[in-house]
Symmetry: C5
Subunit: 347 residues, 5 copies
């Protein structure tokens, strides 16, 4: 949510959680022959890289020092609204083509084991002619394999340009969605078994939570589709033909993620139906027990009540065979009731 | 609702609530060097501003004097239907390009603390080559920060044209939606906790009210999307390339608002499911209590009834151990019933 | 429904209710200087108007004399299918451009106070270069204000061409929808209050009727949107640029009507949820009463039953404090049950 | 369903029910001056008609002799897949333009009075430059009025080309849908009255059947829309401008049919809601009766039980006014309970 | 799911089940005059076929030896992402045009009789100028009829190019869907009868399983539609005009499959409604039995209780006609209750 009511647009206000540690900036500069990596202390150190022909990847961990973002923005000629969007961590995933550079926002998902929740973190990527600037909210290890690949010259990454690097970043974010979905799928399976074996009142709460998490997952991934498609089929000269093929692959993955989310939505809403009808079924069972007991014993109690009356002239009371006869009659009524219920399938 | 059945189109009838106070008009005239602000008494005072090269912002508070709107319309060459739309406060948000000027209608939302309701107020904006005319239903403070920025030459507003001013007005309206949604979100959270802890009959009413408010929110915001997009990607020469970038930002915000509304809709309809199944669950519980009590005591009462019968030949009645035995039997029946219910998980 | 199975297309069969009275035809012929109005007796009288440069409005009330429609069709060169559509009163709203003329079908809605129902009546409009022919099923007063405006030269109607007249007719039909919707809205409000205060079995029937009426309203208005848009943005030379602006206004109104209908649909379907859960709630209440009474008295009755047994050796029966003690015990059981239910929130 | 797993495409296998009678072929050859009709015995007899300038209509009743279809296909140069589609009676309605000819598939609906079901039968139409070949599954009388019109030179059919004939065939199929829908509508009305007066367990089955029939109706009609539109607005030189106007009329009718089907769907699903809530309402009523009876008599029975106890020291038992007092007390309790229930609205 | 988090794109990892047997490769090389078939031992044997003018079909059974896929990819110039997609068996159906070749992924469905489940297996097809490479997960017999047709020169397959072969493969996969749907339809019918005759608690589980299977079926078939359409209407020079006609046929079949799936979805969700209301109906029945019994006997028991009271002054007790009178009274109450319930329709 852009909490800037009344402030002029382009005012840089960080909307996430404030943090004490310093914003960490690393630069990796490479071409197919050499690779140079550095942890930046002073923001000015990154500026010379801009004009070199090598590919430069500037990674910014932490958004809580807007002045750093502002300096980067000024030096790389970024539009103030882009900087505002980088800091506003409630952004929807999107892609914007500013001709000189492309701005991409995506959501990195992270499963918080302790809370049992899925958290979303914003990743912004600026793709320029020969540089990529990536912004993360916190220190994350999701880009480590890419750093590894650059350092060890694994795969084609060192042979290709900045566009391929941007693709690789996006690809690793999207690939991580599958891991999240797998965890989610396990939760769904556990729930399904619970539903069949013994649904409790809490089951509904769990279904509701799954549903809510799916809604927020969907909100993170759905707009990404359009953004990636825009990159893959757009007309920007910043993205080469070779990289477009790879972006189309990311696009396919995004659609696969969306498909899976939709499938889970259908399954979770089917679970709600099962839960509700299992409540009804259990009520039915409770009612049957009550009905069987009441229906058998209420008439018998009435019979006993009759012979408990104190009329002086009740000839049956005097015969010695009356009592056993009444007991037999009661037994007969009880048994025939039981047979009736068995025929109805209630017993 | 255009309450003008039978009247010729273009007849100016104000459809909102009548008010006693006078319509308030202020003019702010500025360029990057100077800034002039004036509260207008006589409507003719605003006309000279039309032909000056500076940017003129005419703000009209209150629509209950149609003759004022008519005079403005005549002087600025506005189409009669535009004037009718300004007065008809049930308008949908929209954007219309009349070549000489652009007409935009949006809905300003206002949370009424006392009533606990969200009210919608219509804001109409006319964007001409070097002027902006804005119409509000009542006196509002939402545009104050913009006045402030113009006066203090904060941000870029003084350096840019009328199109940027129109953008700033729209931006401040859309930004305010987030505040409304935040309040709404708090209501949803309170409701969710209530649902889990102890749902009452009124909870349903609250859910229903939230749902209704969401429907009306959606109706206010949804068409805005198309209107803003039309401005940002349209072909009007009145909107400069620089401002279009800012309008695209407003467009993004609008979509973010719509996304959030949809998310709330999903959540509220999920709450209804929880509420309904919590009713069923409580019914289940009630039935269980009844069933347990009845099922334990009805057979026991029958037993007591048997030995309350007045047959003369009931040998058991004469033995001294009969009574304690029957009591023990009753205890045994009661306990075994209780065990049965515990096994079933009802106790 | 075109009840002409087996008949060749273009066969003119009137599908509505037959009527005894004669079809009423009036002609109004005007330009900005003069205005001539006449009630036609013989159909041939209208033909000379066709070739005059003035605007001619021929209004036909009643479709039950197909031969009249046929003569008009022949003289004005209308396609046989157009005539068939005029007579077939189950037509969907639509617009067809035949180059020489434009054919528009719309539905006029009328609230029948006696039946409490909304009736739909078909209005067909033929727009030619300098004439407009309108067909109504019955005599209606909805076009009276337009006649008035022509006669009194109010507004711009006399200064503009046949296209503006056609617009005015469509505008008055669409404006009337708002009146219908307002009535509908009142019904919805009454229903909502009833739902909250005391829903009865009939409430459901009322909800169902509202729903059905909305479905049929929607069917009347929804296709109109496309028809009006086709006129406003189409390429016909019969519709001037000035009139297109007005038609866009009608288009906006149509969308507003559709929006309102959708909102009512959402509200009515929300009412169904409230109704259903109010039934469940009442069932809950009934069950609680039963459970409280039964759960308190069934154990007490069992207690009384025990001391009603006729065993000879029941020492308690002989003590003088037994009876008051048992009564006290019963009181204690009853009170503790009541406390238990109060704690559960059932009392 | 193309039951040809493993067979090469274009293999002609008839998938419908096998029939004993011979496939019936009739030829009608006409122009505006003459008309010739013949029942064909030997398939070769139809070939000379192909090259004559007159319009030739070949109607084939029955698809169970694939070799006949094959011969026709070879002579008229039809694509093997077209022949396969003609024989595969599970085809979706569609239109395919093969330049030399146009292939149209539609579904003829037939209400089976005995079964109370609506059956669908496939009609395939081949439109060539001067011939139309129509294929029906069984002998049908739906095309009789067209034969009549050709023979008697009624309407414009004899004056127009093969395209108009193809239109007339499609028109008669679509017109028949209205008859089917009318029958369906009657069924819906009967059901609605039943729902209001006395819904039984079977009512649900009837609702379910209506729903299923609507689903299959929709499947037959929905794709036709696109097919007819393709013909009316397509670019084939086989369809003249005059005929296109008529095809647009068929298009309008198709949309009208679809609209009506959608309306029925909404109504039928509304009925389900009513049915379900009527079950709940009846349960409520049952519960109320039980609760009233039990709540009145259970406390009274308890009272009687107290004075049925056999304690020796129960002073009340000895007073002569005790019995009438207890009876009065019981009456008072009973009456106050009844008043309570009346106040609650249960009585 | 691409289980390659952290691996560079294009890394070949097989995601399906590992298998022990060797990957089986067969080559069929044919033109209209000759046909040569061979089982390949060493992967290099297939390379010479690439440059021959005859059509070469290389079929690879089993994906568990990525090195084989890699060699084929290198020799035929396939993009690394294509190879990755072939191995990643969680792919969505899709078509990608790489100019030199076309890559198609589809899902083969297989009904597992033992498990009663439908399994999906991925089939990848590479269509080059004169070759087709198909990849299957396991040995399947679905392509056998095509091999047969090639060997025996049945149909047109030997006379046409590689594009027709690719079509034939896709066609046989899609045709098999109908067999799957037929089996599914049988399951739906069995379920429907069960629902009407005697629904059990398990019925819901069966409905839920059908629903889930439909969701996964839909996921397999839905995207295929776009893929086949892309081939049939695309601009690739690899697909000839004649083959496009056949591909359009496959497209029609795909839509027919989707239609049928949607119909089943509607039917299955209708079943859920029937199931839920049958639960309610049964509850209603249970409650009626309880109510009837309780309502008849509770008042009677109360009556018996009155005359079981031990008051000394109860004059009725002394009369000889009291007892039979009370019995008669009880009978009367019982009978009138029964009549009341019969009138209510509960008996």
């Amino acid at each position: 949510m852009p909490r800037k009511e009344g402030l002029p647009p382009g005012t840089l206000v960080f909307t996430g959680e404030k943090r004490a540690e310093k914003v960490g900036i690393t630069v990796i500069d490479y071409d197919k022959d050499k690779c140079y990596k550095k942890k930046i202390e002073e923001i000015d150190e990154i500026f010379p890289f801009k004009d070199e022909p090598t590919v430069t990847w500037i990674n910014v961990n932490g958004l809580h020092q807007p002045e750093i973002i502002e300096k980067i923005g000024k030096h790389f000629g970024l539009h103030p609204l882009v900087l505002e969007d980088i800091l506003n961590t409630e952004q929807r995933p999107k892609m914007e083509d500013f001709e000189d550079y492309i701005f991409v926002v995506l959501k990195m998902l992270r499963h918080d084991e302790k809370e049992g929740e899925t958290r979303s973190e914003q990743v912004s990527i600026i793709l320029g002619p020969n540089f990529v600037i990536s912004f993360q909210e916190t220190v994350g290890d999701i880009f480590d394999p890419i750093r590894e690949r650059i350092r060890n010259n694994k795969g084609r990454i060192r042979k290709m340009g900045a566009d391929y690097l941007a693709y690789a970043l996006m690809d690793s974010v999207v690939d991580h969605y599958f891991t999240i979905l797998e965890k989610f799928g396990e939760g769904v399976e556990v729930l399904e078994e619970e539903l069949v074996s013994e649904p409790t009142t809490q089951t509904l709460q769990v279904i509701h939570n799954l549903k809510r998490e799916l809604i927020s997952l969907r909100k993170s991934v759905w707009p990404l589709r359009e953004a990636v498609n825009g990159l893959a089929r757009g007309e920007s000269s910043l993205v080469g033909e070779a990289t477009r093929l790879f972006l189309r692959d990311v696009y396919d993955h995004t659609i696969q993620v969306i498909d899976t989310i939709e499938t889970y939505r259908d399954m979770v809403s089917g679970m709600l139906d099962i839960y509700l009808s299992s409540i009804s079924n259990r009520m039915n069972e409770v009612m049957k027990v009550l009905t069987i007991i009441a229906t058998i014993f209420i008439p018998l109690t009435f019979l006993a009540g009759i012979y408990g009356m104190n009329f002086q002239f009740m000839p049956e009371l005097g015969y010695s065979w009356s009592y056993p006869l009444v007991l037999l009659l009661m037994l007969a009524v009880g048994i025939s009731m039981a047979i009736y219920f068995r025929r109805k399938g209630w017993l």
